[in-house]
Symmetry: C2
Subunit: 194 residues, 2 copies
DNA sequence: AAATGACTAAATTGGTCAAACGGTCAGATT
DNA sequence: AATCTGACCGTTTGACCAATTTAGTCATTT
């Protein structure tokens, strides 16, 4: 009873602290203080700081998957679902400080734990995409292709259009991104024989 | 006479040093030593270290453009030329230590001058691509599209397939990259109505 | 039995100072 | 006289160390 309540409090405190200050700047002392528990209590639930962080990242990835799943509607086609799911996933990452802070920390301090954590997030997204592409292929909605490479290419292209483009130009709206995505990846640049 | 010879020697020494050690670790003393001139002599040709670096990068970009131009053959179509030119450009970057060392330096030390230099290289490539795309569009070889965004997308996709993919998977061969590029960007994933 | 916080070894920080740096210029070299 | 040079100058850098902070433990309290 009390034990579970404490664990939840610790997780909530860690979540808040990692999202606000990143991995390195989050201290076990401060997590204990925010959670209103003794520091030793944290170590009854988590082996060490890395495992506590791992728990928070695991929850984040779980929620990310839920968001992606929630954006998919059977009645919509491959492309609309793909765009919808990807856009929500990237929006979710934007809305929640956690990954933004970790990206910042990697740039500023090169924290290895933050790098590994974001790599896992990317892997989860790639994994989700891969399954989605395989299904579409089996339903005959898209051409035969290697789902792994395709997932990789789609994600890279999406990140390029959403984040990288923004670095040096005016941001593209959701509709613009969808249109560009449709043009480049779905229809292709080739002039249709007409 | 002698003056020009000295300038050439300085440029050669700087080229070698920037490519071997990066921007920060290249000292004006060592450039003078390698070039066999007094340090003061460098400052009769270049205002400061940044301008010397700028000269080297300018030459590099000039050679990059020449390589790209040389890969284009009127008789080939848009796609073959695009792939050929891009592949040679990226190969050229791989062969010459300069940009590799600068990329490394950005990651390890975050040197601003190296960042700006590589941004200029990317801009030069984008500029070249943009013109190439505009021509193909005017000849009716590809669909109407914004050449700027298209150049950006093509470069990002290429870098993703050539470099990023290699970070976590077995490298793709030139033919594989060409095939993937053709599939994703030229034909699109959409199943052709047949 | 569960929770705690004082404790310890290890890591990180901030301050210091000698060494190294970019850039100059009076004098040497041609 | 024109060109080239390296000793020199003020500034920046990074190795070093003491002081602080941190992750993780465990004897004690609740």
């Amino acid at each position: 009873m009390m034990a579970i309540d404490r664990k939840v409090k610790i997780i909530e405190a860690a979540e808040q602290s990692f999202a606000s200050f990143g991995y390195k700047a989050t201290t076990m002392d401060s997590v204990a203080r925010i959670a209103n528990v003794g520091k030793g209590t944290i170590y009854t639930f988590f082996k060490n700081k890395e495992e506590l962080f791992s728990e928070i990242m695991g929850q984040f990835i779980y929620n990310l998957k839920k968001v992606a799943m929630g954006a998919i509607h059977e009645e919509d086609g491959f492309f609309n679902n793909l765009h919808g799911a990807l856009y929500r996933v990237l929006e979710f990452r934007k809305e929640h400080q956690l990954t933004i802070k970790l990206t910042q920390e990697i740039k500023e301090a090169g924290t290895v734990q933050a790098q590994e954590a974001l790599a896992k997030v990317e892997d989860a997204i790639l994994d989700f995409l891969q399954g989605f592409i395989r299904e579409a292929m089996e339903r005959g909605e898209i051409q035969t292709c290697d789902p792994k490479v395709t997932a990789f290419v789609i994600l890279k292209l999406y990140i390029a259009l959403v984040f990288d483009w923004e670095l040096r130009h005016a941001p593209l709206s959701s509709t613009e991104i969808a249109d560009l995505f449709e043009l480049y990846l779905l229809n292709g640049l080739k002039k249709n024989s007409d």
